[in-house]
């Protein structure tokens, strides 16, 4: 009887230890956060929103594309692009709210019907309000 009780206790203890181990096991790896992986500039984009001809030099008549690759997933992420001229003059600002479930590409584009003034420009990308990277480029005649 005593032996039976000991064996039973041992079995119960093992079972509990097993449960406890399962409970403390780390959750399966998931990508819970979104981050910006890269920013590319170009004059055109492909169907997958990636830039076909990366460049940092544009002509006044060009439409300028910024292709932003993100990784991770989120129910909602706010991706913004802020375009500036010669350091301080804001050219344009736009935002897209996305719900990525893995790698994604988001493009922003700007155009100016009467042509871009020659000079230095910058596009700053932010994710949920936090700076996530920037690219500088020039417009030359």
């Amino acid at each position: 009887m005593h032996n039976f009780r000991s064996v039973s206790l041992l079995l119960v203890t093992c079972a509990l230890a097993g449960c406890s181990r399962n409970q403390s096991a780390p959750p399966p790896a998931t990508q819970s956060a979104v981050k910006v992986a890269s920013i590319d500039l170009g004059r055109a984009i492909a169907a997958d929103k990636t830039v076909a001809d990366q460049t940092d030099s544009f002509r006044p008549a060009d439409t300028i594309y910024a292709s932003v690759k993100t990784e991770g997933s989120a129910a909602s992420a706010r991706l913004s692009a802020r375009w500036t001229y010669e350091g301080d003059q804001v050219v344009s600002e736009s935002t897209q709210s996305i719900a990525p479930s893995g790698p994604a590409v988001t493009e922003f584009h700007v155009s100016k019907p009467d042509g871009w003034p020659e000079g230095s420009y910058k596009v700053e990308v932010s994710l949920n309000g936090a700076p996530a990277g920037h690219k500088e480029f020039k417009v030359k005649p």
Binding site: D48, K49, T70, A75, S76, A77, R78, L79, A81, W83, Y85, Q89, V90, V91, S92, E93, S94, T95, Q96, S97, I98, A99, P100, S101, A104, V105, T106, E107, F108, H109, V110, S111, K112, P113, D114, P117, N128, G129
Partner: protein, 96 residues
């Protein structure tokens, strides 16, 4: 005025007619899930914008347009009239 005459100030280019847009391979987030910014910022009015649309974009609620209007009374005379290229201050979202 100096001995070389009045200093010429470089005029800033006009970007009010800039067209912007974008798209993504990721699905668009439902408006009610769009995160609200915790810090303010500036926004350049684009063609077709209204204060309600800007408020919807930044706060997730079109009804918050008055907050933007109140913060920009120096540049907005009539809340129904805003112009492409106008630079607006976007007050920080109120924390819940």
């Amino acid at each position: 005025m100096g001995i070389f005459g009045p200093k010429k100030e470089k005029t800033k280019p006009d970007f009010s007619n800039v067209k912007s847009g974008g798209s993504s391979t990721a699905p668009e987030a439902p408006p009610d899930l769009a995160p609200t910014p915790t810090s303010g910022g500036t926004y350049v009015v684009a063609k077709g914008d209204s204060l309600s649309k800007i408020a919807q974009r930044h706060y997730g609620k079109a009804s918050e347009w008055r907050r933007i209007y109140e913060a920009n009374k120096d540049v907005i005379k009539d809340p129904d009239l805003i112009y492409p290229g106008q630079q607006l201050k976007i007050p920080a979202a109120e924390k819940a």
